[in-house]
Amino acid sequence: MNTIKLYLHSMKMLLKSQMQYPWSFCLQTIAQIVMEGGEMMAVLLVVNRFQALNQWTGGDLLFFFGIMSITFYLTECFGRGITGNFAALIRSGNLDTFFLRPRGIMTQVLCHAIDPRRIGCIAVGVAALVLGCRQSRVIWTLPKIFLFTEAVFFGMLLILGLFLIEAVFAVHSVKSIELVNAVTYGGRSACQYPVDIYPGPLRVLFGTLAPFGLVLQVPSAVILDKPMMGIDGFLAFLCPLTGLLFFAFMYFVFQKAMKYYRSTGS
């Protein structure tokens, strides 16, 4: 409880410090809307040209795009401490400062940054989702709302977990940013579309290694009443938990890396 209070307090303060530069904030937010809007246009163009991709209609594709954008940018907004530049955190000595305070290292990493500019991207995601729901005539029921929330929440944990890979490499002074970007930003780009349109290897990658498919898309398919890979009902509610598993595993690895950091010094 205390940790959540600390997190909220930190976010409030960081927001205040971002607002010290209102013009910079406005311009960057607009730039982000344009960028993410461009991505949405790409989806719209695909829909226009082909009407459908396998069993997925244009509305369905917009839905997939929307849930991905919302999840990814919510994570980047509120988990900026992890999704930001972890190597810089080590270089600047900020990580050392975290060791000097009586709180968990992960808590402090999360509390040290926020990226409110992502609100533009989230708005685009919401627009795509609303549009998708209308075109595909999604009927929202209580279980579907629950499934959606669950997918977004565990999706955020999954993305945090993926970014933690970079943090762990950074502690071992290995530059991995391009490699990890392939699964984080690359995963976001690829999984804006349902994974079952991809060939086998990619499906395996995003089904098991970076399980966006299980965490976000299986629930989306159920919400669209077109179950993916035959997963429906109770099982669909279990799938997003792989995001939690992934995060838990990376959390464990991260703690080990912190032990290593303290014993090798800087």
Binding site: N2, K5, L6, H9, S10, M13, L14, K16, S17, Q18, Q20, G93, D96, T97, F99, L100, R101, P102, R103, K259, R262, S263, T264, G265
Partner: protein
Amino acid sequence: MHFIEVENLNKSFAVRKKREKGHFTREKTIIHALQDVSFTVDEGELLGYIGPNGAGKSTSVKILSGILTPDSGKASVGGLTPWLDRKNHVQRIGVVFGQRMQLWWDVPIVDSYQLLKDIYKVSKANYEKRLEELVDALDLESLLHTPLRLMSLGQRMRAELCGSLLHSPRLLFLDEPTIGLDAVSKLKLREFLQKENREKGTTILLTTHDMEDIAALCSRVMVLGHGKKLFDGQLPDLLSRYDTLRTIRVRYNAPPDFSALPESCTLQKEGDNYIITYAPAKLPTAEIIARLQQAGRMQEMTAQSQNIDHLIARMYREMDL
């Protein structure tokens, strides 16, 4: 039981060299940052920690503050081992780095303090009382609503000190706190530290290159070089070992006659002044003054001991640092 107990602390780092042509692997060199360092500190002491760059000062501060884990050896601060019991340990210490700011850059410092209050779980009543005390002592009243980035270096240092003391730590680490400060800020800072040490009984461990800091503040000084402890005691004792030469500067009304001056001292002429350098251990000061008076009618005379920085530089040279 002493407040801080350090026993045979060792820490080494592996530094990889640049890969040589034709070799596949890079050569590693081991740097021994600390070798069998032992010492104790009692509660309420003000200990100065000196040594040239790379002597192991920062490493030992990092180990004692819980950032680093040593290779071997024991350390306890108030009964806790810093690297094993990190959270409980850091609740009782404060750390200030002269070259690195720990407060948030873009927000008024009072906002930073409120967040620190939450981080350290300080109760509201204690926080308010302590903040008032510190703001008063550090003269921060007019700065409370100014963001850190708009402050001068001296103001920032005071703001940092306030932040690191809000949770009333029993032990304060200061890593070169006066670096880059002007004379007035330095004096104020020293005065504050003395008061904090005297009135709150806060144990202070200070690393510095500024010998004036040590002379003004520390009852005890420890010299570290090449990762080993070379001296531990009082500053005058340290200085007397190396402070072997004195100089006297004299001016006469008429050209003097130095024929009676002993051979063991050296004589230099600088404008109208004569500078006599001698070793007080071999030649008593009273005697040399008597001889100087014989040489003619003195107009002015000043006796000086050597500059502390020179002494320390000589000490480092002799210790082969």
